[in-house]
Amino acid sequence: MSTPTKTEPAHITTWERPETNRPAVGESVPRKEDRRLLKGEGMFTDDLWMNRMGHVHFVRSPHAHALIRDVDVSRAAALEGVYATLTGEEVKQLTDRYPQIAPEPGGRIKDYCLAVDKVRYAGEPVAAVLAETRELARDAAGLVEVDYEPLTPVVDTLAAARDDAPVLHTEVGSNVGWHGSYDFGDIEWALENADHVVRIPHLHFHRFSSTPLECNAALVNWESGTETIQILSNNQMPQFAALFIAPALGVRSDQLIFKSQDIGGAFGLKLTSYTNITAIALLSRKANRPAKWTEYRSEHLVGSCHGNERTFVDTEVPVMADGTILGFKTSAYDDVGAFMRYEPLGGVIFSQVLPGCYRFQHLQVDYRTVLSNKTPVGPNRGYSRLQHLWLVERIVDVVASQLGLDPVEVRKRNYIRADQFPYETPNGCLYDSGDYHGALDRALELVDYEGWRRRQREAEGSGVRIGIGIGSTLDSGTSNFGQARIINKDLPYSGNGEAAICKLDLGGEVSVALGTVPQGQGHETTTAQVVGDVLGLPPDDVWVQPGADSARNAYVAFSGTYASQFAVTGIGAALGAARLLRDDLLAVAAVVLEAHGEELLLHGGTVSVEGDEDRALTFAEIANLVYANNAALPPELADQVTLNHRYVYRPPFGVPDWRTKTGHLTLTYASQFHVCVLAIEEATGKTEVLDYAIVDECGTPINPQIVEGQVHGAAAHGIAAVLQETLEYDERGQLLNGTFWDYHVISCPDTPMFKTDNLPMPSPFTPTGSKGMGEGGGGPLHAVCSALQDALGPDVVVADSHNPTERVWRMLARGEGGGRAEVTSREAGER
């Protein structure tokens, strides 16, 4: 992205080829994906069609918690054009329960693709129908009769965690699916020896969802002839899905043939669609025909997954007189809804960023994964870190507010300093690079911080208050899957990786097959930039095939697009494969041109001898020699080169220690610094963002425009969550806003025109110096709450991550709806 101090990236008008002799990495080259997407020629799952296919519709529970006495599908099955029905009872007989990530007791949960014997959230699928048309399937689903015996629903997180709460899964014994304690440094010592202790009894991070605009969808064909199950879907991590689907169906993992092309956003919420895919596969087998399902938006909101809701109880913060914060302790109750599924991974993933951007040394988090009669959660953008980073930023702001300190100064006093990188946190994570002080200064400069402070004073008494808030946040990327052992020591996972295949095709064309499953992140373009630079080609001459395709063989168990890692793992794989192809090209050219490898140049699809460019071989000539004329090559060379290379990138990780809960949990730490200027109308509580700046740092940007687009998108999600978007349940466990009419997705006029800048600090740990980015760390949640706190003063603590007009008004006018804090200070000279 552009700054006054950097050279503007060259502007390329449309999809024209950029010049061939300039490195493409670091340039905002136009995206290769755009051509088809702008013409409506993208291929999304609902665009796919198969001969004889039927349409699936799920029957969903109206109750949040009930026993299933009977399911009668006879009226539905009798309709002409209905091909098959499926009930929980059949599922119990035909499949095994899904494996669980959780250890005991949460690991005992019996989770199937349809509700068996009991429903645990309103919207849970209890039966499914396959019929000739989508309308008929829906009509038939309406004829399925389910006899329920309602049970008391458990909706409130803290109430659910109590011993006397009704239990969702009797086999677990309580609603606490996982419990773990993290304890680093000596928090009790710090609390005893601090000049001040700030106590915050209650903080609540609300439930919301990034709602990708394309809902879940799958077209599944269980072919009895080949004994394969073809799964065309928009699942964003197919090999993870396979870990659940294959054992549930009792099939080999290689019988599952995954394929995807374009995906209309995912944000982590398309990871757990394996439950739907399993049911669709069963219907396909039963009817012996392809089965297609496209989720309706109202189904997506109530029935797919939501982001994690988290309550922090009894937070205590030791602070020294000079504003040094020693750390904190808290008890976290993470509400995951009705099933564990991806959980309790949230119970360790937050610890990737345990001290946030700060040098805190004494940290204690008691963490519970709590089950409730709400929609299950999925790893929504910023997963588990944004909840925790919001806590950390609230702590810093509440400390500043309660002790009358400057929120900028408190941050700067406690930030990790630029000269301390790589920085090891108390739990053994290694922050790779950063300049938090410099980035905050730049963000403050972008909004004219001093000018706004002046206008804030001028506005006093005008009926409009101005608040200026800061959000410091991290986007930890490239997870070490060994951290799964911290929540379940028996899980045989560690490290990470990604695969790519780079080959020269018969006519000398270069193509790359990725294992990643992008949903708008521009992998085709950035891969082509990196690979093109290695092979001396413009990005347009590199054909990149993204998306799942089991047949291409470009995958490992970690493949997919999630957790801010493509710029490291996906690019690392593509780069490695391209270098192997380059080595082949040079090997052939060296022999044929009778030259040394170091004399050879790769440029524009030709290998030539430097200074003697007439001695040259085109890629097409090399392809011809290797593929169609190999007797003309020396045998030792013909045996050596394949022009077709699969490479697996493996980040340099060890296995974390589950006993001490320490280790190198993520490879890269991108950072973002947000400054929000917020106006609040005192009479109504209406808020308006007056100015907003974001400075991000993600190592070396491959395509600055794509990086900036991700920054904008993540920021919009954060603004949406803090001011507009929330998933609210009533006491019966009914979702109150299950459509886009009442789930207020942020629109264009609601979104600030963000000002951005990027300060590259290359990562010493990654192949290109780039860091994963894109999730954004929930920056606006921190910054807007900080701005509200700034405007409200010390009498009210902004204690909820969701602050719509009504709550702001109550905090402002009545001092209600917010939280409180207590400060205990040591008498002077007491120590």
Partner: protein, 178 residues
Amino acid sequence: MAAEPQGTEPETLRQIEVTVNGQRERALVPVRQLLVHFLRDTLGLRGTHIGCDSGNCGACTVICDGKAIKSCMQLAVQADGREVRTVESLSGPGEPPNELQATFTRHHALQCGYCTPGFLMSATALIESGAELDRESIRRGLKGNICRCTGYVNIVHAVEEAAGVESPEGAAGEGEGR
């Protein structure tokens, strides 16, 4: 025109004639079929997308008799006798992008691309309306379309350039005050 209903049975099919992207289409459609399903399933124009079932997201936006409409909020039979334009009308397969499509690429105004056809059609109708446009009227004019990837900033820049509106941050919206 319509098949005579038999007895008390409700009419289930009706003949319609609609001009889509300049082409006259005659079809017998189920009376409960949505216009978006007629475009996607019957005519195979898969560029028009569906992102919600309540008329909020605008992924299904098409231009009908010059106005941007949400094709999931209309029945196919309501398009009888009308003229509909979809994203496929903006530039043909293999043809260069039109000006608006080119500005979308230039400003990186799309990521996953699912909402994009709807935005292109809304913006086309906005620009063709002849209304005096500036940044605020463009932002308000795009309120009927949801994008979950871009945060809208670059979409505003793209439409500004296509509409010939000078960006407050300077020529072509570059710099964005950064």
